[in-house]
Symmetry: C2
Subunit: 221 residues, 2 copies
């Protein structure tokens, strides 16, 4: 009985990793759609999001069923609640990729990103992709060290996010209001995506070590 239960816990973890795979693919395609004004990619991201949502619902149902049936305690209970939280974060990350794809679609056939910001947005997309890939590895491997790395990626995302604003608010900006509105929001979507990836990794770190990442950081100082 107990073993079947732990198999079901593993199944949850597999589903979470599958969510990270789908979200990574959505983010990769959304970033490209945004930069290259690729309508087909944008539509793919938008329609694929239902798979992410479906996995979240699956995970929720499994968690409630396991709770009702097994009445888990202590660390098992915590693992279930953490799975709920992580699936919520991953579902949001899927939504944020969809928001980027919709921006690309709205501006098609133009690109929402002016040439001088291409490199910055490209890098934001790459960091976002790297972070969700790492979050997936952290869930699968429970690698605390990798989990702690996401903070540095998040700092880098914040720096690039500030660079977007500096560029829009510089006297050299010559693209007017509409691209500025799109880029303000797109920047925010990337930044929130990174925040959610950090949350996922933090949840794993807490689950494995019983410590919040900031406390581990303090010990390591």
């Amino acid at each position: 009985m107990r073993d079947a239960y732990h198999e079901e816990l593993d199944g949850l973890s597999d589903k979470l990793v599958e969510m990270t795979r789908l979200v990574r693919s959505a983010m990769a395609r959304a970033s490209t759609a945004l930069l290259d004004a690729d309508l087909r990619l944008a539509e793919e991201v938008i329609s694929a999001d239902e798979h992410v949502n479906k996995l979240e619902t699956d995970i929720e149902e499994t968690v409630f069923e396991l709770m009702a049936r097994q009445q888990p305690v202590a660390s098992d209970l915590r693992a279930l609640i953490t799975s709920l939280r992580m699936s919520g974060d991953l579902e949001r990350m899927g939504d944020l990729a969809v928001h980027l794809a919709k921006t690309a679609r709205r501006r098609h056939p133009e690109s929402a990103i002016p040439p001088e910001l291409h490199a910055t947005v490209l890098e934001m997309g790459q960091i976002a992709e790297r972070m969700i890939a790492k979050a997936g590895s952290v869930i699968a491997s429970q690698d605390v060290q990798m989990g702690l790395e996401l903070d540095a990626d998040d700092d880098q995302m914040d720096r690039l996010h500030r660079r977007l604003f500096d560029s829009m608010l510089s006297p050299k900006w010559r693209h007017g209001v509409e691209p500025a509105v799109d880029i303000s929001l797109a920047g925010r979507y990337f930044e929130r995506f990174a925040d959610h990836a950090v949350h996922v990794a933090e949840d794993v770190v807490y689950l494995v070590t019983g410590q919040h990442p900031e406390d581990i950081g303090e010990v390591a100082d």
Copy 2:
């Protein structure tokens, strides 16, 4: 023993209602700070947010302690998990009020909102306040009918949000890029605030009826 447990559940509900009170006050002050360029109010919102965060941590600790100690099942367990989710939503709503306050502070002594958008942003602030007030009442009273009302408020918020964009993208817009960047983000913060209020109400509806609001809607059609 069982009674003491239910008293602790009530205590959780009181803390959630207290969170809604603090968040409502933060939103009211943040909206005013934004419209009137009131630096003192903005600073108040920013420094008061730690109380909201503290309550979230309190609720989390109580939930985990109750889970460990009482091993609740079925509806009691669901009530605890829902409390965790609601406190997460309310904490985010506090953050969004802080983001609005920081926008006000950054643009001080100017107002971040040009005169022709004052009425729209004022109304967005009022709807946000009304929604968090209703969410608090719904938690306290478990009033399902009121819980279902928040969807209509959310639709109204979305309409006002679109009005902001229409105004910024109209040929009549004469404020340039910087206010447009601020307003794009502020609009997003109001809209997300409303989404979180809807989530809180939905969680209560689900807890009371065992049904998701969209299914109740279908039955009522």
